[in-house]
């Protein structure tokens, strides 16, 4: 399958070109964040305080990696369920985040925000965590170390494989693909 190589940070123009079902390879810096880190980010935004990273054009990966063995960059690092971050995502897309990466469905508000702010939502294969970790070349905690695996990490990735689930036209790959195979 033809894979599209992307380099972060992403622009509106790049996000607008992507369509559901396309497979991409992400290169550059991405940031991790799950439930607890999102709650803190939103609190910082509401209090108008400085954020641990500049949001414009950036990519957030919903992951809480397992600890790295000595000599390793990171442990296993597959996606967590994105739906738990739906409450926070529209605000982050509005403030410049271009892509989020996880697994599973987004709610209507997130899909609207993706369309309105020209973003994308990508999925990686849930449970392929050891395989995915191979494309992570550097990892370091940049905020909230007290959260353990929920801290925000800055990751440098090379050809990190993902698939476009929701695009800037409002498309939803899960709906389309299930339709093709449903026999009920």
């Amino acid at each position: 399958m033809n894979r599209i190589r992307l380099t972060t940070p992403l622009t509106d123009a790049v996000a607008e070109q992507l369509q559901i079902g396309q497979q991409v390879l992400i290169n550059g810096i991405i940031y991790t964040g799950r439930d607890a880190a999102h709650q803190r980010l939103i609190e910082l935004i509401e209090q108008d305080q400085e954020l641990p990273f500049e949001l414009e054009g950036q990519v957030i990966y919903y992951v809480g990696p397992s600890p790295a063995r000595p000599g390793r960059v990171i442990g296993s690092a597959g996606p967590t369920t994105s739906g738990r971050m739906d409450r926070y995502a529209p605000k982050l897309y509005a403030l410049g985040i271009k892509a989020t990466i996880g697994k599973g469905r987004r709610d209507a508000a997130v899909i609207r925000a993706i369309k309105q702010y020209k973003g994308i939502y990508l999925a990686v294969v849930g449970g392929a965590a050891a395989l995915i970790a191979r494309s992570i070349k550097e990892a370091g905690i940049i905020a909230f170390p007290d959260l353990g695996p929920e801290a925000i990490y800055r990751l440098v990735v090379e050809d990190f494989p993902a698939i476009v689930i929701n695009d800037a036209t409002g498309g939803d790959l899960y709906n389309e693909s299930i339709k093709n195979y449903s026999m009920t």
Binding site: M1, A36, V63, G64, P65, S66, P67, A68, R69, R72, G75, S76, A77, G78, T80, T81, G83, K103, G104, R105, A123, V125, G126, G127, A128, A129, A130, L131, I132, A133, R134, L147, G148, P149, E150, I163, L173, Y174, E176, S177, I178, K179, N180, Y181, S182, M183, T184
Partner: protein, 252 residues
């Protein structure tokens, strides 16, 4: 692993086959490099079968289990996924405490089954108190609906554990115990084995497929456990497991 290989042969969706292939590759890498299959190394759920002739000395038994969990997760570089309080939510740092289910059995042996459970698939599980008049059709409808609603979230292809009967909490526990069975091993009751087969077919007609990207492999297996129940009740619990059925047992 056998389950995935079988699914790979049967799956008709190209992307579904690609996903299954990635899961097989992932399992091979995890084995070769001694790293976890998934970063979510789970809540440590421990089933204890304690022989009634066994006497435990030298300390508190549950403390000993938690000490083992702490050691295993820390020394094994497994993730600490447990927070100490459901509202205050501070990570305990060593994946304790475990959830421990104890059963007293005959004999002089102590059997421990450790079944780490991931949060993503656990979150998609459900219990419902059906009416006896809902019958087997009501049970099927509910189980299929839970899997449909879960969609791509619990990392399909999934293993579906179903508990029918007992009380509210008994049904939930049966559904978890159903996940301990070897993949695809049928119920010892003929009618229940048939129900498992019917549910398996219905679920795989949903079209969810590997990772929810479409396909005929939504479930790798459906296991049903039953128990006696009240004349007024028909409790049904569905516990979903991702494609990685991780459990290990030891007999002391």
């Amino acid at each position: 692993m056998e389950g995935l290989q079988k699914a790979f042969k049967q799956e008709t969706s190209l992307i579904g086959r690609d996903v299954i292939q990635q899961l097989i590759m992932n399992a091979n890498i995890a084995h070769a490099e001694q790293v976890p299959i998934c970063q979510d190394t789970g809540f440590a759920v421990v089933f204890v079968e304690l022989g009634q002739d066994v006497q435990i000395v030298g300390g508190d038994f549950y403390e000993a289990i938690n000490e083992g969990v702490k050691k295993g997760y820390t020394e094994g570089y497994l993730r600490s996924s447990i927070v100490n309080h459901p509202i205050l939510r501070k990570n305990t740092g060593d994946n304790t405490p475990a959830v421990i289910h104890t059963k007293i059995v005959s004999g002089d042996q102590l059997r421990l089954i450790v079944a780490p459970k991931g949060g993503g698939s656990e979150n998609m599980s459900a219990v419902k108190m059906l009416k006896p008049s809902d019958g087997v059709e009501g049970i099927k409808k509910f189980v299929v609906e839970v899997v449909r609603a879960a969609g791509p979230n619990p990392c399909p292809p999934v293993i579906v554990g179903v508990g029918i009967g007992g009380t509210f909490e008994k049904a939930a526990q049966l559904s978890k115990e159903a996940l301990l069975r070897n993949l695809g091993e049928k119920s010892k009751y003929h009618d229940i084995a048939r129900l498992e087969e019917e549910l398996f077919k219905e679920i795989n007609k949903l079209g969810i497929g590997p990772q929810g990207l479409g396909g005929i492999t939504t479930a790798l297996a459906v296991h049903v456990e039953i128990f006696a129940t009240h004349i007024a009740s028909l409790p049904v619990a569905v516990n979903i497991n991702c494609h990685a059925a991780r459990h290990k047992e030891a007999v002391l």
